[in-house]
Assembly symmetry: C2
Homo-oligomer: 208 residues x 2
DNA sequence: AGCAACATACCAAATGGTCGGTATTAAAAA
DNA sequence: TTTTTAATACCGACCATTTGGTATGTTGCT
């Protein structure tokens, strides 16, 4: 039961931090959301900051960074599809958190990321490294696609890789700014798919 | 002198909110940064929330949304360049705020935008409308570029427009996450230029 | 009995905000 | 011309509430 309660606090806190950011969430919010008391909370955690750090690691380890090395890299086409699928799965995790009606505000991952970057010195490094790995992965796949003539283009692999990545990031940010809920987000994600396919088509047709 | 002091408070508060978000900034932070007292602050503002709202309107009206209808739309090429130039100018505004050494943390416009969206009901509408206008502008320019054969592609104008916009957004987010300061940002912006040029080249060469 | 797993009452500090006061200036009254 | 009035622009002690956190229970299970 011990680990259950701690996990319960972690998950409820995650949602709160995603809704309002570190400074927007008070200890009272946490004990209310968990339906426990301060005694229970401080039995499992030393401070508000500590639960935040554990939340960040939980979020980052289990959601943000899932399978960062398990993509289908056999072709650029497959890679694009796979990136897209994984993004989809990431959203599904949140659907399981069965938010109550009064928790309908959108979950903003950047609340977590910004706070983590400014309050957890090690996090920025980890985050940027992950970003770099992602970029290298894209470049590898694109290089291969060039060799196999899957695409023909004079643009550098780095340029193309960044196009795909930034497109995804900008799209994600747009979703948050529109305050879409989870199901709406999953709907919208299909638009991202068509954008990525569009870019892919351009690369295929690029004469020189 | 009256308006001067109020403007002084506005500008100092803007920097604070950009650094730490609404909840991360206390009234003490504000009076310290402005080098005034609470008496002075509450002489010009009714509440912390009010200065935030005025800061948002100031930021949005004078910085984010500058000249949203004054772009060079004579060709897609020119439009791209112009969009890029305006982005550059936006950064310059912040350089004038002569931040002190202890204020060297990066200014994160999303702190302001997220808080504004969740606390100022009217803001989301305004923001999304501005986004929509931007999209329509891109579409118009792209449609014209298709007609004049500046570019030849089977992709829809909306698809292309979103590619450009999301690329820019994602790039901007990346800058913030890397915690670049203003001069570094201006350096990096040139990378965005090459990405936009790359996409432009792809569109030019798109056989069908 | 003894410990794990919580609950509850409490605390100092920080929070956003108020209110009576004051220095400076300028217009109005003498 | 001098004095009074009055308004602006600002100060800083003070306030109720909330903050994150603690110390001392209480409960149930082995």
């Amino acid at each position: 039961m011990a680990k259950d309660t701690k996990q319960h606090i972690l998950e409820k806190s995650l949602v709160l931090f995603l809704q309002k950011g570190y400074n927007g969430v008070s200890m009272n919010d946490i004990v209310k959301a968990t339906e426990m008391t301060k005694g229970a909370f401080y039995y499992y955690f030393d401070s508000k900051m500590q639960v935040f750090e554990e939340v960040v690691n939980y979020f980052y380890g289990n959601i943000l960074d899932i399978g960062h090395n398990e993509y289908d890299t056999s072709s650029l086409k497959n890679f694009c599809n796979d990136i897209f699928e994984k993004q989809f799965k990431r959203l599904q995790i949140f659907e399981k958190q069965n938010l109550k009606p009064n928790e309908k505000q959108s979950l903003n991952q950047y609340f977590l990321i910004f706070d983590a970057i400014s309050q957890m010195p090690t996090f920025r490094k980890k985050f940027n490294e992950s970003d770099q790995r992602q970029l290298e992965l894209w470049k590898k796949v694109i290089n291969r696609a060039k060799k196999t003539k899957e695409i023909t283009t004079t643009l550098s692999s780095e340029q193309i890789a960044k196009m795909f990545m930034y497109m995804g990031d900008g799209f994600g940010m747009g979703l948050i700014l529109m305050n879409k809920n989870m199901t709406e987000m999953k709907q919208s994600l299909k638009n991202l798919k068509s954008l990525m396919d569009g870019l892919y088509q351009l690369l295929k047709n690029d004469a020189n």
